[in-house]
Structure formats: C-alpha cells, structure tokens
Symmetry: C2
Subunit: 193 residues, 2 copies
C-alpha cells in the first residue's frame, strides 16, 4: 500500500487518539485538558480544536479506536454461549482502562448535555444493540429463538441490564449476573425452554 497523504493523516489521527487514552488512563478525566493532550501527542492545540470542539468529542473518537474490536459476536450456532462469551468480554473491557474510566466519564458528561447524550447513544449504544440484534436474528432463523419474539426490545434489555450494573450498582458484572440475565432471556424466547 502506498504511503499517501491521506494514509499518513489517518495514522496521525489514530496516534493522537491513542495518546488521549493513555493520558486519560494516567491522569483521569478530571486531569485531562486539550493542552495536555496536545503536549503528549506533540501537536499544537489548535490542531485538536480544529477537529474536536470539546474534550468529550475527542474522547468519543478515542473510544471508537479501541472499541470496534470488542463488538463482534461469535456465531458458533449456540446463541446462549455466544452471548455469554461476548458479555464477559465486554464487561472486562468496561471494568478497566483504557475504555472503562474514559467511557464512564463521557457518560457522566452526557447527563448534563443532551447533544452529547444523543451522539453517545448513536455512536456506541445503537451499535452495540444492533450487533446484539443481528446475532439474535440469526438465532431466530436457525430456530434457537421463537419466531414471535420481539428481538429488538430483547437486545435493549440484554445490553441495558449490564450497563445498569456497571453505572449504578456496586455489584460486578460477573458470570453469575450474566447467567441470571441469560436464564431469563432464554426462558422467555428460547425454543428449548
């Protein structure tokens, strides 16, 4: 592949976003500033401001870099096992750096900012729900889930329960919690229940 200007630009962007996450993991959200990110990444702060109007916007893009690889469900033909594996993987990603503290901080910011909340929902939660819905839909086609199940809503229930525990509970998202959730889901919509 040729080293085009566009490719060099994309590489620089990814470097900047990774520097943002590294810094966030070190100093925490409260210690972050566009100036500090610029210093760490070795760019002028106007370079950052030109593209990202706020720290939250920059962090959303930074999260996307490390996030995408965590979204894919396996398809082994056993929907319960595939959901379980993915939920465990996501919960581990949520629990620690680089995603954990930064994502939590963006969610907090979004509580006072409806526009950021809409962006957050569109960029992350809708993607997570859609990816879950796709896996459920395949399971419905192969006969693991009942034909009349409202899978769109089920995907929201599955994701929502885990986020609730992460954001509002002192309980961990552990195997016990994930099995409890999947027990209820399969009792509702599994064909072998």
């Amino acid at each position: 592949m040729t080293d085009t200007p566009r490719r060099r630009g994309a590489a620089r962007t990814e470097e900047l976003l990774r520097a943002t996450l590294d810094l966030a993991a070190e100093v925490g959200y409260a210690g972050l500033s566009i100036e500090a990110v610029a210093r760490r990444a070795g760019v002028g702060k106007h370079t950052i401001y030109r593209r990202w109007p706020s720290m939250a916007a920059l962090l959303l893009d930074a999260l996307s870099v490390v996030w995408a690889s965590n979204l894919d469900y396996r398809d082994t033909g056993d929907v319960r096992a595939d959901l379980r594996e993915q939920f465990l993987r996501s919960s581990q990603a949520l629990a620690g750096p680089p995603i954990g503290p930064v994502y939590r901080a963006v969610i907090a910011e979004a509580q006072a900012d409806a526009t950021l909340r809409a962006t957050l929902h569109e960029r992350f939660l809708v993607t997570v729900e859609q990816s879950t819905l796709d896996r459920l839909t395949r399971a419905q086609h192969t006969g693991e889930l009942v034909a009349e199940a409202n899978l769109e809503f089920a995907a929201e229930v599955l994701c929502g329960t885990l986020y609730y525990r992460h954001l509002l509970s002192t309980r961990p998202i552990d195997e016990h919690a994930i099995d409890g959730l999947l027990d209820m889901f399969m009792a509702a919509y599994g064909t072998t229940a």
Copy 2:
C-alpha cells in the same frame, strides 16, 4: 402531637431539602452551591456544611424527601398491571423536575466518585429493586409467576432496562417500551405464557 425541639428540627430539615430541590430546578445542577442553598433557605452555610459534606450528599437527602412516595407498588392481584402502572409513574417522575434533573446530576457525579456511587446504590437503587422484588414475590406466592424463577435477578433486569433507557438512550420510557419489557418478563416467568 407536641411541638418538640426534635420535631421542629425535622421540619426545618425538610424545608431546607425542599429549598434545595426548588433551587436545583431553577438554576440546574451546575448553578448550585451550598452558599446559594443557604441563602435560599435562610440559614448560615455552616449549618449546611455541618451536616452535609458535599452538594451531592445534600442532594441525595433532598431526593429522598420526594422519592419515597413514588416507590410503592399497588397489589391488585394482577402483577403485570401493577408493574406497568408503577413503571409509568416512575418514568414520569424521572422525566422532569424536581426528581429528574437532580437525580441525573447525582448519577453523573457518582461516575467519578465510587463512594457516592455506593451510597446512591444503597439509598435508591437497592430500595427500588427490593420494592420490585417484594411485589414479584407476592405474585410467585399467588401463582402468577413460576416457582423456579430467580426473582431477585428479574427485579434487577426490570429496573435496569428502564434506567438504561433514561441515562443512555434518546428514546423515552413510554408505554411501548414498558410493554416490550413486560412481554419478555412474563414470557420468561409468567405461569400463563
């Protein structure tokens, strides 16, 4: 009832907490300060600091005043209808002042403060889940829900899905959402499914 010093103290506390909520509804969380609350309530700010170490602690107590009356499930003998009625009522309370914006702000604060998160969980979420679990348990005793259902986890799923929509979604908690959730719950654990 005699007008004892203790009773007068409790009345003054409730007045102060209501003044806090009124002010929060007017100026928003970002505009709040202990000084402003003291001015509004006509007390010295040290009176407030002596009892509440932080604005978040004061707001948690203020929320408790208006919250308690919103927690009771009816028991008409129809668990689905009773859950539905209570979820609609809670979602209306969450959507606007005085509870809505203040509660959202405390939840945001709690993302950066694990102690506040634990207090929030203990004071509100555990109470909500327990109240839900009590209603589900009665329904299990009367045979509306299957005997082998893990109701403790079900109570968390029910509450969690609604909180997720409130905090991370741009979708409202409307009748459609509540019916989708209850469809799944009753398909899982209802005896008539």
